[in-house]
Amino acid sequence: MNIPADLLAKIDEVITHYPVSKRSASLPLLHLWQERFGFISDEAISWIAAKLELSPINVLELVTFYPMFRRQPAGATHIRICRTLSCALAGAYELRKKVAAAAGIDLVKFEEEQKRTVVHGHPHNPGHGNPIAVSPDGKFSMEFVECLASCGTAPVAMVNDNFKESISLEKAADLLNVTTSDATLPKVLPPHPREKRIVFKNIDVAGYTPDIDCYVRNGGYEQLKKALTMKPEEIVDEVKKSGLRGRGGAGFPCGVKWGFIKRGGPKPTYLICNADESEPGTFKDRYIIHQDPHQLIEGMIISCFAVGANLAYIYIRGEFPEGARILENALNEAWSRGLLGSNILGSGFGLNIWVHRGAGAYICGEETGLIESLEGKRAYPRIKPPYFPAVLGLYQCPTIVNNVETLCDVKHILAMGGGAEYAKLGKPNNTGTRILCVSGDVQKPGYYEIEVGSMTFGELLNDVCGGPKPGRKFKAVIPGGSSAKVLRFGERFKLKDRELGVDDIPLDFDTLAACGSMAGSGGVMVMDDSRNMVESLNNLNEFYAHESCGQCTPCREGAQWMRKITDRIIAGGGTDKDPATLKNVADNIAGKTICAFGEACSWPVQSFLAKFPEEFAVKSVKPLPPPMPPEYNAEELSKTPKIEAVAAPRGNSQETMAEAATR
């Protein structure tokens, strides 16, 4: 195999980013390969395995797990259209049809062929992505992908590495000729008067650029200088005092997490920035990464100093290729100014930070799945106990995993003069600011940084976001990313001391939890009275069925089952038993899985069913047994192609009877 010298040099360089384990370089090598050759060939798998001293199955496992990797060539222009809820509400399915028509792709024929396709011995299973649809002239290819994390500007797509947002359905064909990206498009948006911009102070501000000079001009890296004069334990104390809760979704107190790290142990400590922003409805980190990367880097250096980490990674989702490049540039700038390296600003503290790209798997947002992925494996979350990251994390060493926004907040805690000052923002146990990402059926979707608890849902959606679209009424809101339980406008929540409607719920962690949902990642998805809740749930079910890693039984089997049930219901085959079955399947997943994905995929089902039973009932009317789907008819079955095994056919003639029986 002849590898071009420049590619080989890049490969050898990227391997040096992982001094502990070469295997970690698997995903970076696959990215480099696909960027150069367009897809991952069989020989690529063998070559990469040999290069990293792995068994070829180790690499094959990754290529088939991470959806961004292709095993067939794509068109010269490859279009990824986001299909997850907010984009679907904004017309992503229509967009897909229009783009296909413009590119000369017959989607109906493609889907028919897909059903009969066998890829490397594996029958194609209904879903999207693999294989991708390519136009007959080979110029264009397209696939539906899951959330691209820009729900506020839906519908969105990626054309090769170029991100496009707010795509007009009328101008769908323009996607075939995209040469620029919207990811760093300067949009000057003044903050709403009720916002409190701290982390987003410099986002979408006129003249603000992601380079280090601009950052330093605006007071950047001053907090790092201050931090380096403090004792690490003092910083941890300040973060504890600040009451800062993790902004990734779980809301775990950051200082407490840091306190789990045992200092002075025999093993090194690592810090990982979770920049795998992937919870549908959430799109805050994208702006920090693309527009203000040094804020994150300063927060990370301070945090590494505080927890005693000398090696850190930014695990950035694969769908942010520009973001990864921007961060890499920013890290180089920081390096050249002595802000990274073996002796940062003469303090004696040394730190290396590397950017590590994911490849399209939602589960990498789960911290132990992320760690496995960073180790070059399938992103299978680990069992806890015993694998708590603070004890047995990356390479079985103590590891802190924090969200982008959380790490930025660390810098601001110091800037405000300490945790006590920061804690004055917001409410007790719900301190600081939060960036809320509003998408769906509101007049002004987008991000809003507010003091935690400083306004209610009603104020956010009606005053700040301009209320429902003309002639519409709000029907439902998912308050904290797609996994959070949906709230129905009009329902009442009885709390200990008061009764609330959705409009009255203050935007904090605790009240939302008391109302049976969660603040989660801050992704607020709104649906108005034009929306069918069964279809909305089906969209989310498809997301979770696609994103389940498949490691543990309830989620692997249950997520797909729930998707199939809602698929059937919206196709007109709903039976009167379906709502009860759906609920019970969800109940059998939640709380029984290795990671929180179990809850994430069942909470939408449980809450949609509980809150909108009439919409399910009206579509679930057929008595059991339901009409057989066409593929069960004898005639159709006889048409089903034989499934070929991966390996060559066996030569043992004694087994023909049995073989026939198993096929």
Partner: protein, 562 residues
């Protein structure tokens, strides 16, 4: 798996299982503690010899820790025992060790709901091909379905399609649709075989076990993945579709392909061997067995097996009866008394070798030895000594290292008769010409060889699976052979042939059963004093470190590894 005996006292912790307080050594897995308390927790992915991934979720239980007062003191209940704070979510029992004051509920309504749910999930995409599935009858999906599953299916959707009849390697076939993704096979290959060839491809509910086309599952321990596969996903290409397992008669015995003496189970039906599987014995092979050993049984049913005694025409009838053949052999050997050599075998049992030594003294044999048989040790279970009973042969004085003297003796004329027992003398430095020189050549064997071709008397004997007896492995552990099938035709048990030869040469020796032979051997051999065949038990006895069992001593049955 019994805990290894240690000299330091084991710290015990108090654990409440289903309301009963019990003590377990610190470091015991919760699932193992429950097993010891006779509460078998259903599970698929957990295997005591492999790491715990906790992925099948079948072993979910309710777990609790001691309730603490604000100043971290355990709250004591009315019964004087600590109160337990139950964790609201079910916990897996396969990945946690017991801890002081832990509470476990193995059969509460919540636990039953969990099992029911997981069983349903495992079955919705599982093909209903039990009637033709090799695992049927020993399938954990079937077993736990009966105990914990639902009576009705409510799955109305199309099942996920996955590859079937995939040749993962030369000996293992995969049906991915039957697979429940417990990853036991992957972990076995990584952790035990240290050959990382298996993995999972695709994602979510399409996950399938696979190997890369460049690196097949061809390791010599690959069939262990079939053993530990809890369902019918991995099947033995050799055994596949040959026999329903419930028809198999299972005989516990030992492997004779090397000095390790791995414990095995032979599965037979109507006097035919269908498969050999490892039998769990931590002191020998654990639950594992090399492929090359377990598949080496086809020769037993070889159509060329010797089935009746044969005699060279010059000695008399060519198709004699047994008594005639024994008498002719005895006569021929006796005539050469003092000039007789015996080539015995390290594959023979202790009982046979004991009788060989008696025969040697009756014949005043000048040389007795066994044929050494060596190969490369694999660092796992295959020993360099490929004879299963070298230790026994040495103990009984049959392995003398004088093999070379046989050839020399024949060539110098000091040896004129040779009894070859279970070996081909041409493998022991003798040529066909040497054999032709002999006045008497008596061969006992199961298959024709260069030696049986030249022998004056051929006495057909039994293969290892056709007889009882004992052997001593390289770690000095005495273990039992059991009879799984009957020898073909009129072939006889080796010890009986030897006993009859001795009788014909020197009169009765009072041995009427294999037990008698063992008793005689044990009384003549101090190392074996106090042992009987039945006292050896199914797991054998360590002769280095042996407590003499008292009469009536009962070996407790070990619970099977699921």
């Amino acid at each position: 798996m019994s805990a290894a005996a240690t000299t330091t006292p084991v710290q015990m912790v108090n654990v409440q299982i289903d309301g009963v307080w019990m003590q377990f050594p610190k470091g015991t897995r919760v699932i193992e503690a429950c097993k010891q308390a006779a509460k078998l927790i259903p599970h698929y992915c957990y295997h005591p010899k492999l790491t715990s991934p906790g992925n099948c979720r079948m072993c979910l239980i309710e777990m609790g820790t001691p309730k603490m007062t604000p100043d971290r003191k355990p709250v004591i209940g009315a019964d004087g025992k600590p109160e337990i704070a139950w964790i609201p979510r079910p916990q897996i029992s396969c990945a946690q060790d017991v801890s002081e004051g832990m509470g476990v509920r193995t059969n509460s309504p919540m636990v039953q709901e969990c099992r029911k749910g997981v069983m349903e999930f495992l079955l919705i995409n599982h093909p209903l091909d039990c009637p033709i599935c090799d695992q049927a009858g020993e399938c954990k999906l079937q077993e736990f379905s009966v105990e914990h599953g639902n009576a009705n299916s409510r799955f109305l959707e199309r099942k996920v399609k996955k590859p079937k009849s995939v040749e993962l390697g030369p000996r293992v076939t995969l049906d991915a649709e039957r697979c429940i993704l417990c990853t036991r096979c992957i972990r076995f290959m990584q952790e035990v075989a240290k050959d990382d060839v298996l993995g999972i491809v695709d994602r979510g509910s399409f996950n399938s076990i696979a190997c890369h086309p460049d690196r097949k599952l061809d390791h010599n321990y690959s069939l262990n993945t079939v053993d530990i596969c809890p369902v019918g996903a991995l099947t033995s290409t050799d055994f596949r579709f040959k026999m329903r397992v419930w028809f198999l008669k299972e005989t516990p015995t030992i492997d004779v392909n090397c000095g390790t003496g791995s414990n095995i189970t032979i599965g037979t039906r109507e006097n035919r061997i269908y498969r050999i599987t490892p039998r769990d014995n931590d002191a020998v092979n654990g639950p594992w067995l090399p492929d090359s050993h377990r598949l080496n049984f086809k020769f037993v049913a070889d159509p060329k097996r010797l089935t009746a005694p044969e005699v060279r025409p010059q000695l008399g009838e060519s198709k004699p009866g047994w008594q005639q053949a024994i008498n002719l052999a005895a006569e021929a050997l006796k005539k050469n008394s003092g000039k007789v050599a015996i080539l015995a075998s390290g594959r023979a049992t202790n009982e046979e070798l004991f009788l060989v030594s008696r025969l040697a003294s009756a014949l005043k044999a000048s040389v007795v030895d066994i044929l050494p048989r060596t190969g490369e040790a694999d660092g796992m279970l295959i020993a360099a000594d490929r004879n299963p009973n070298t230790t026994g042969a040495k103990l009984l004085g049959v392995a003398t290292g004088k093999l070379a003297e046989i050839a020399n003796g024949i060539r110098s004329g000091s040896i004129t008769a040779l009894l070859v027992f279970g070996e081909d003398a041409t493998n022991a430095g003798l040529t066909a010409d040497d054999l032709a020189e002999l006045d008497a050549l008596v061969a006992m064997d199961i298959l024709p060889s260069a030696t049986t071709d030249k022998a004056h008397v051929v006495l057909p004997s039994s293969a290892w699976c056709e007889k009882r007896g004992s052997m001593i492995n390289l770690k000095n552990r005495i273990q039992r052979l059991n009879k799984a099938v009957i020898a073909p035709g009129s072939a006889r048990d080796d010890w009986e042939i030897l006993r009859d030869l001795i009788f014909a040469i020197s009169g009765s020796n009072g041995l009427h059963s294999i037990e008698d032979v063992f008793k005689a051997m044990a009384s003549a051999t101090p190392t074996l004093a106090g042992l009987t065949l039945s006292r050896i038990g199914d797991l054998g006895v360590d002769l280095n470190n042996r407590e003499l069992p008292s009469a009536g001593h009962v070996v407790p049955p070990t619970l099977p590894t699921l």
